[in-house]
């Protein structure tokens, strides 16, 4: 693991690539073995915004949990910058689907500062880092609020901030906006692109919204039903901000839908 990497107050988000080879994940339950992933190969390039699109229960979340270090693969390898992923670390941060993932007993400021606890920085440097990250996600006026006082969208922004503040190399997002209403969701997508462009952090975002995947991704991978394999790879070369009514947008959308079986 790359834990020897020390953070400095002005360290940029050094984007990193992820490599997955021959990945297999089997869950055991009463009815027998469930093969979630079987022989998956994939690369996430440094600095790209990769969207993974797939039907429910196709093993997308298993992949994310393995990349996050929360779960161990049954076989195969997952590496981050050529180092095997052996457990969770601040190198690869996660934004969960559930909007209650912030610590409810800490203020927004302290939630964002949580990951700096074991980082060797002065108090003032940490405060500056927290302030600038909150500013980046647009929550600078909400530092002294508590999570229960924020809307679902703001809580997800704070979740992004607590990962970014530690100079994470990879942002793993598991349907982060699925619990939000349609309007908020669009605002969040726009904001997320701004954040990604500002930090150039590597992003992997899982979704089952075709629109979301094509609106956000620099590349979209459509997964098959379980066990997860890549059905098709769709590079999205459209410039940001993307227009959902654009003919090219719709052509990519219909390609995705075809591979999802619609």
């Amino acid at each position: 693991m790359n834990t020897s990497a020390t953070l400095s107050a002005d360290a940029a988000h050094v984007a990193a690539g992820i490599s997955v080879r021959g990945l297999k994940k089997v869950y055991r339950d009463d009815t027998g073995d469930v093969v979630a992933i079987d022989g998956l190969n994939l690369d996430i390039h440094a600095g790209e915004f990769l969207c993974i699109l797939g039907p429910s229960g196709c093993g997308k979340s298993s992949l994310l949990n393995i990349l996050a270090g929360f779960e161990k693969p049954t076989a195969g390898t997952a590496t981050l910058n050529d180092e095997p992923i052996t457990g969770p670390s601040r190198l690869q941060g996660v934004v969960f689907q559930d909007t209650s993932a912030l610590f409810p007993w800490l203020s927004v400021y302290d939630n964002v500062g949580f990951g700096l606890r074991n980082v060797k920085l002065s108090k003032a440097q940490k405060a500056e880092k927290i302030r600038s990250t909150l500013k980046l996600v647009g929550l600078h006026d909400f530092a002294d609020k508590w999570p229960h006082q924020l809307s679902g969208g703001m809580r997800q922004l704070a979740s992004i901030a607590r990962v970014l503040v530690t100079d994470s190399r990879v942002l793993l997002m598991d349907e982060p906006f699925a619990a939000l209403d349609a309007m908020t969701r669009q605002q969040m997508q726009k904001k997320l692109i701004e954040i990604w462009q500002a930090t150039k952090i590597t992003v992997m975002l899982i979704t089952h919204s075709v629109d979301e995947a094509i609106y956000l991704g620099s590349r979209v991978l459509v997964f098959t039903k379980r066990p997860a394999r890549i059905a098709v790879e769709i590079p999205v070369d459209l410039p940001h901000p993307r227009v959902v009514t654009d003919p090219e947008f719709n052509r990519l959308k219909s390609t995705s839908l075809t591979h999802l079986g619609f």
Partner: protein, 262 residues
Amino acid sequence: MSSSRATVFVRRLIPPLAVLVIWQFLVTQYGVGDGFIPAPTEVLAALQEWIFGDGGRYSGSWWASLRDSALRVGAGFFAALAIGAPLGILIGRSRLASDLLDPLLQLLRPIPTASWIPFCLIFFGIGSGAAIALVAVGAFFPIILNATAGARHVSTLHLRSARMLDATPAQILWRVVLPAALPSLLVGARIALGLAWMLVVISEMVAVKSGLGYELWDAYYYNRMDVVVAAMVTVGLFGYLSDLAIVLIVRKYLFWNVSTAK
């Protein structure tokens, strides 16, 4: 419909006042209770003498009795908290501790606390020690069981969040498990404190020669029912005040817990 604070206050005051007036009336006008039931005015007079009198039976001894009982409640309660809270959190977080200790606790729990009195007397003799021990035994169970439940149900999202932000095991215990378990722990503490007042009275009736419970039982033998009721009122009042203290602690420190803090 919302009512003003004053209206609510008056509305809440009516039933207790009505009970007092009817009670007074029944005793003084109709002789209900054949002289064994004191009227509220007699209770008030007894209480006044008990608090402000100077020496003699039921005269001026209120302060010392209250102090003795309150100290026993406090000592027993905090002993139970000091042992029960850490042990409960351990059982909630460790499968080994749970397998070893949970069955034992479930076997001991149904034994009525008052039936421990003989053992309290054998180990501590007639005196404060026996009362404190009995209070501690009774307060121990709600504390440990609620601490266990609180620690057991820490959200996986919060544990994963802490791990991905590089929290150490000690930080996870102090900054995640403990705050997450606190609402449940305080529910247990509140039940325990209520039990503590009940048990201190029981133990002072049979095992100690001082305190509010002792004076209550003594007054019964001397047919001073006015003092008996005065003692009941005193215990009720201080039971209420100690409960209020926990409620205020919950409001102040657990405001983030939207389900318990109101």
